[in-house]
Symmetry: C2
Subunit: 555 residues, 2 copies
Amino acid sequence: MKTDIEIAQEAVVQPISEVAEKAGLKAHEIEPYGYDKAKINLDKSVNRKSDLGKLILVTSINPTPAGEGKSTVTVGLADALSLAGQKTMIALREPSLGPVMGLKGGATGGGYSQVIPMADINLHFTGDFHALTSAHNTLAAALDNSIYQGNPLKIDPRRVLWKRVLDINDRALRHTTIGLGGPTSGVPREDGFDITVASELMAVLTLSTDLQDLKKRIKKIVVAYNYDKEPVTVADLGVAGALTVLLKDAIKPNLVQTLAHTPAIIHGGPFANIAQGTNSVLATKTALKLADYVVTEAGFGADLGGEKFMDIKVPKLGKAPDAVVVVATVRALKHHGGAALADLNQEDLTALKAGLENLGQNIKAMQRYGRPVLVAVNRFTADTDAEIKMIEDFVATLGAQVFLADVWAQGGAGAKYLAQAVVETIDQADADFTPLYQEDAPALEKLQAIVENIYGGAAVELSAKAEKQLKDFAQYGWDKLPIVMAKTQYSLSDDPKKLGAPKDFTVHIREFVPKLGAGFLVALTGSILTMPGLPKHPAALDIDIDENGQITGLF
Amino acid sequence: MKTDIEIAQEAVVQPISEVAEKAGLKAHEIEPYGYDKAKINLDKSVNRKSDLGKLILVTSINPTPAGEGKSTVTVGLADALSLAGQKTMIALREPSLGPVMGLKGGATGGGYSQVIPMADINLHFTGDFHALTSAHNTLAAALDNSIYQGNPLKIDPRRVLWKRVLDINDRALRHTTIGLGGPTSGVPREDGFDITVASELMAVLTLSTDLQDLKKRIKKIVVAYNYDKEPVTVADLGVAGALTVLLKDAIKPNLVQTLAHTPAIIHGGPFANIAQGTNSVLATKTALKLADYVVTEAGFGADLGGEKFMDIKVPKLGKAPDAVVVVATVRALKHHGGAALADLNQEDLTALKAGLENLGQNIKAMQRYGRPVLVAVNRFTADTDAEIKMIEDFVATLGAQVFLADVWAQGGAGAKYLAQAVVETIDQADADFTPLYQEDAPALEKLQAIVENIYGGAAVELSAKAEKQLKDFAQYGWDKLPIVMAKTQYSLSDDPKKLGAPKDFTVHIREFVPKLGAGFLVALTGSILTMPGLPKHPAALDIDIDENGQITGLF
C-alpha cells in the first residue's frame, strides 16, 4: 500500500495560477510561492461577491488513538462536491511543524483525499508560523528589554504572562529561567516556551478581519501585570506596529489544491483547546466569497472545536454553517465503548453500542445550534454490515442520517452520496441559527451552557482562584468575554479517561487566562500541555531526502 | 531628504521573471516568491557556463560608528558596471531580522544604491533564516530528548555545545536554565540562545556545494561531549536527514534586483567573527556562472571578512577574487585617527593622516593574496579636496589608486570611474592568487600568519585552555582545520579601543570552538557576543504600517 507522501509525490500538480483562475481569482490577486502555492491579496478578493457561498462544517466524535480521518473526509467531501459540478473550495488549518518532527501523522488529509504540495504544507509552507514565532518573540524581547532598561512600566517579573514560543516539540523548554549571566544579560526570572500554535498571536491573527483590526487586537494583548497588579498591554510597550509589520504577509490566506485540483485555502492553526481551533476568519470568508460550497473543519471533536466554531468564530465570520458533518469510524466508536485498541478489527456490537453514546452527544451538541447534522462514517475494510446497520439505526433516532465515506481509497468518488445529501439538506434547511449563549451573559452562565448542552454534563465548579479572578476581571470588563474551554479532547468530560458519553459529571475550572487580543477568556480544566515533547523514537529519525530531492519518511 | 525606505517604496520594480531572464535564467529555473523575489533551482543553473565570470570583492577598513557604506558601494559598483554594458550580478548576504528590530540601519545598501524589495529582504524574505532557526532548534530538541529518553549516547548535560537560536535581539536568553518543572519536563541543565546567524548551520549551509554535501556536513557537527569526553555528532543523534529536509529550500539562492534592475543574488548571512561572514558559495558560484562580472562583499573590515573570504570561502568556491575594492570614508578615517564623532564634519588632516594607517594595513592585507586592490572613497558632502588629496597620495605609496564613489545620491552613475578602473585592472592583472597558509599547517602557524600578515600584529598567545584543546583536538584530527578568528571588528588588534593601526600587539586566544560541519576551528579572542540585546529605544518602537500597507520607520 502506498504511503500518503508517495501518493502526494505522484500527483499531477496543476499550476497554482490555473487553480486560482478556477477559484475566480485573477492573476494580480495572488502572489505565487513557487508554482504550487500562492497567497491571496486581501483587499481585492474578499469583497468579490455580495452573497456568500454555503458553509459546511466537518467535525467529529471525541478523537481516539484509532483515528477518525476528519481532514481526509473534509477533502474527500469537497472533491465529491467538485465532481458533482459544484463550485467548491476548502478552508483548512495549517499544520504545525513541531508535531511533524515528533509523531508521524499528517494534517493534510490522507490517501487519495489530500491537499498538496503535502511536504511543503507540512514543513515551512509560506512562512506564516515562522512569522508568528518572530512576532511573538520580538514582543517577548521588547518586554524583557523594558524591564532591563529601567522598567518604566513597573512590570512585575513574577507576573509576566507572555512566554516565548517555538514551532518545535521541545519539553525541555516548558519551564526555564532566563536573564541569567549577570547585570549585562537582563533580569533573571522564571519563563517558559509554548509551541507557536498556542501563541495568542495565532488566535488574534486568525480572528482578525483585516490588517488594522489585527493591529488593534495586538495592542490589547495583556502581557504582564505591574507591581500594582494592573494589566500591561502591547500598546504600553509600543510595539504593535512592528508586530503588525511582521505579520503583514502571514495574514493573507494561502491557496493550494487537492489531489483532484479543488482549490483549497489553508490558513492559520490555533489550538482547539486554548484557542478557537479553526482556520482564519479571512480564509473562510475569502472562500465563501469565491465559491458556492465551502467545506471547512474544526479541531478535535464537536465538543471542543465544533462548539468554538459556533460560539467564537461564527460571530466574527458573520455566517453560521449551513450544515454540519460529524465524522466517526466504527473502530473509534468501539474504542469509546470499551474495546481495546488491539481488538478493533473484530466485530463487537456491545462495545459499538456503548460507544455510540459519544457520537450521540456530539450530534446533539451540534443540533443544538439549529443547523442540520449529517454523520459520515469513514470506512475501514474491517467494518461489518451489522456494525454499520447499528450506527444507522442509532443515528436515525436522533433525526439524522449516516453516509459511508471511502475517501482515503477513492478520493471524491468515495463521498458521492454524502455530497448529494449535503446539497439536498442545505436546500431544505429552514431553522435559524441559535447561539448557545448571549454575548454578554456572565461567565458562569456561559460555562454552564457549554457543560450542560454541549458536553452533556451536570455542573461547573470554579476553584477559589478562578472565582477570585472573575471578581478581579470585572473591574476591567473582562468577565463578560466569550469562554474558550481548555479541556481534554479525549472525553466529553474533563477527565481524559472517561470515554463514551459520561453522565452527571462536574467540570472543574482551575484558572482563567485572559486573552484580550483574541477577545476571550480561556477556562483551564485539568492540565493542558501547551508545549509537546518528542517521543522515544521521533519521526525526525525517519525523515530523509535523496540526491534527487525526493523526501522519504514524512508520513 | 528621503529615507532609504521611501526611495525603495517609490522604485519601479521589474517583475522578477524579467530580472531572471536578463540574468540568463529560464522561467522553469526559478521559483517565484511573490512578483519581486525568486529562488533559483540549483541543479539547473549552476552548471550553465563552463567559464566563470570575474569576481570583485568589496571589503573595507575596520568599521567605525561613522559608517563606511560597504553594501551601498557594492550595489552602486554593480549598477555602474551594468550601466557600462557589462553583464553584471551581485552576490550579497541576507540581513538578520533581530538587528532590524533593534538598531536602525539597513543591510540592503542605501539611497539610490539599494537592493529591493527592501522591506521584504529585511523582514522574512524567502524564509531562509526561519528554516535555519527551525532546523537548529529541532536538533536541540532531539538532543535534549535523547538525554531525557534514557540518554543512550551518554551525553554529559554539562558539556552540551549546541545552544538554541532565535533571529531576535534578546539578551535575556543569553544564559538560561532549561528542563525545569520536574521529571516530565526534561533534565535540568544550563543552556543559552544565540542569534540565528551565529548558528553553525548557517556556516554549513553557506559553505555547502549541494544538498548532499549539506547533509554530509550536518552529520559531522559536534553537538556535545559524552561522559567519556568523546564528541557526540548529529550523525549519532540520527536527525541529519530531517535537518536537510528542513533546509531543502533554504539552500537555494534568492534572486532580487537593484533599484537599477541589476540582478542580485542575496543568500545566507553567517557572522564575520565566529564564521566566514559572506554570502553562500552556491550564490556566488551561481552568479559567476551567469554573469561576466560579479560584485560581492565580505562582512566587517578586510582583516575579518576579507581574510575569511580568501582563506575559508575561496577554497570551497574554487575561485579567488579578480580584484578587491577596499571602501573607506573620510569621516571614518578621521575617527580612526582620533577625531571625535561630533567633529567629523570638520577638515582634520592630522587625524586623517593617523587614520590612514588603518586603510594602509587593510590594503596590504588584501594585496598579500596577490590580487589587485582598489580603494573606493564613499563621498560625503563635508569631505574637503585637501582630505581627498591626502588619501590619494597615501594610497599611491602602496601602489593602489583611489576612486570617489557617490553612489548613495547618484546610484550607479556615481561609480562610473571606479567601474572603469575595475574592468581595466582585471584585464591587466597577472599575479597568481597566493593563499595565506597551507591547508594542513598547524593551528599556531595559521594563527601567526593571520596576526602578522593580516592584522600587522607581533605575536599570538594561547591560553592554557586553548593549548590543552589543541592537544585534545589532535586525536580527532581537528587541529589542522582552517582557523576562523573571532575578534572585535573595530580594531586590527583584539582590543576594540585600539583604532587606527596598532603595532607590536599580541593577540590572545582564549578558547577554540570546533565547528566540524563547517570545517573550521573558531579561535575566540576576548568576549564575542553571539546574542545581541535591544537598545533603550529599539527600532521596533518606530516601525508601523498604515491601512494601505505602507510601512514606515523601517530605516
